[in-house]
């Protein structure tokens, strides 16, 4: 497990080294690019004061709740669309129309409708996580080998309900998990963007605020935190999807 993190650690060290070199060579003003030590100190300060926890917690809470909410809608809808061609024909045009609109393009509407309270940000992340989950779920059901369905039927899954529970759902599960993983990533990106423009807390707010008070070190702390958490969650999901990786051989 740990050796897998080694390349990441090396990459991190290289970035810091290049950064420090840039400081030595070009000597930029500290409000534009501080030396690595400064954000590191700021990181400790924010960590010790608990501020970093609060911001991280807020961002995470928004992402997780919106992502779960989106999953609760997108997975059943995706299963239905993948299973019933008739239903897919009805629902697909709507999906096609909404899908190309970047979730970030919804932020202005979200502010108009919800102001800067939680609902607006959850709304944006919902949009960002909904489509990847939906599309993976639909694809997961459609890719099921019809022979598996036949096998389920001759082994006693006569009604749609048992067939769904015993065959369709487990056969589509790996693809659903991939969708959840991808959508967590898009959700994580979307919440930062939403917080940049409409929040009083969260990592996105930390960054935006750092910019306003000309504190590049604060901005960098926020960015590093976003990166670290992104990597951590992706690793977690990778682990999960390895456990549920049947049917993709």
């Amino acid at each position: 497990m740990l050796w897998r993190a080694a390349p990441l650690v090396v990459a991190f060290a290289v970035i810091v080294a290049v950064w420090q070199t840039v400081i030595w060579v070009f000597a930029p003003h500290v409000s534009l690019l501080p030396p690595p030590l400064l954000p590191a100190q700021e990181f400790w300060k924010l960590l010790a004061s608990g501020e970093l926890f609060v911001h991280t917690g807020m961002s995470l809470m928004r992402v997780v709740s919106a992502w779960l909410l989106a999953g609760c809608v997108a997975i059943p809808l995706g299963l239905a669309m993948g299973w019933s061609t008739r239903f897919e024909r009805i629902a697909d045009p709507f999906v096609e129309l909404f899908r190309p609109i970047s979730p970030l393009a919804w932020i202005p509407l979200a502010i108009l409708w919800f102001g800067i309270n939680e609902a607006g940000k959850i709304f944006v992340v919902f949009i960002a996580t909904f489509f990847p989950t939906l599309i993976s779920t639909v694809a997961g059901v459609k890719r099921i080998d019809p022979v598996l369905v036949h096998a389920g039927q001759v082994l006693g899954c006569i009604d749609q309900q048992s067939l769904f529970r015993k065959v369709i759902l487990p056969a589509a599960l790996p693809s659903i998990i991939v969708g959840l993983r991808i959508s967590f990533g898009t959700g994580w990106a979307a919440i930062i963007a939403a917080e940049l423009v409409a929040a009083r807390s969260g990592l996105g707010y930390l960054i935006a605020n750092g910019m306003e008070v000309l504190r590049a070190d604060k901005v960098l702390v926020g960015m590093v935190m976003i990166g670290l958490l992104g990597v951590a969650f992706d690793a977690l999901f990778r682990q999960l999807s390895r456990r549920y990786s049947w049917g993709r051989t």
């Binding site: 036949h150 082994l155 006693g156």
Partner: protein
């Protein structure tokens, strides 16, 4: 389960015409009449595309024929049922279940308790020589092992009929021989009615009580041949060779027609485009 002696399957005037995408109709099966006895091992051979799978799928309940009825022990087929098992060429094992999980699948649907179905499943896995691999994941197995699991899975719920559509078609010749023997063993032990589809004439003669030779599309029954050899059959014997010769002679006639049908299809398809 009690089985009345006599006919396991009665096929009465079953025919199938597919509406193809281009709008023209494909007559896959001409009306077929056929009786299959309880406990009989029936093998169907015929040129590619003559409707063998179509017939098996109708009998399994996956598709409705455009004409005719099929009765299983006197009851018309309305859909798939656990009483009619199937073994597929592509194994069709459930990859999220272990080896026993697969064999227990039908037993669970039949309402057996956890311990009872484990015991039954292990018995069938024993019959195909895989008891030691009961708790493996199916994607760890070779193709031959997978098909043995699929055979155990099909026999375990004790269906009255088992359809096998080219079950050994994807296996190498040696594995195939071994599986033919194992299939005969398990069939002799449990005496289920089997409808077995193959392209291999020696395989047909090795396994069958009776062989149905089908015509080129639209498929109908060209001849049937009863194989009056006792098991285990010696594939190198003169009698075996005689069966081979006569079945190949019948098939060769149909292959010529089958090629003509395929060529006509292609020309028509090109004209439609």
């Amino acid at each position: 389960m009690t089985r009345r002696p006599g006919k396991a399957i009665s096929i009465r005037g079953i025919a199938m015409t597919y509406a193809s995408a281009s709008g023209s109709a494909v007559e896959a099966l001409a009306p077929i009449d056929l009786e299959i006895g309880a406990g009989e091992f029936l093998v169907v051979v015929g040129p590619s595309g003559c409707g063998k799978s179509t017939l098996a799928n109708i009998l399994a309940g996956f598709g409705k024929p455009t004409a005719g009825v099929a009765l299983i022990e006197g009851t018309p087929i309305t859909g798939p049922a656990i009483d009619r098992g199937m073994v597929f060429q592509s194994y069709a094992l459930f990859p999220w279940l272990s080896v026993t999980g697969n064999v227990e699948f039908g037993l669970e649907r039949k309402g057996l308790s956890k311990s009872a179905r484990r015991e039954v499943a292990l018995g069938y896995l024993q019959s195909v020589g895989l008891a030691d691999f009961a708790d493996r994941q199916v994607d760890e197995l070779s193709g031959g092992m997978k098909q043995r699991v699929a055979i155990a899975r099909a026999f375990a719920p004790e269906p009255s009929v088992i359809f096998m559509d080219e079950p050994f078609g994807a296996l190498d010749a040696l594995t195939r021989r071994a599986l033919q023997k194992q299939l005969l063993q398990i069939w002799e032990e449990h005496r289920k009615t089997v409808l077995f589809i193959t392209h291999s004439v020696p395989e047909a003669i090795f396994l069958a009580d009776r062989i149905i030779v089908m015509t080129a599309r639209p498929g109908s029954i060209k001849t049937e041949i009863r194989v009056a050899l006792s098991h285990p059959r010696d594939t190198t014997s003169a009698a075996f060779r005689d069966y081979e010769r006569s079945i190949y002679a019948q098939l060769d006639e149909e292959l010529v027609k089958s090629f003509a049908v395929e060529a006509a299809d292609l020309r028509q398809g090109a004209a439609a485009d």
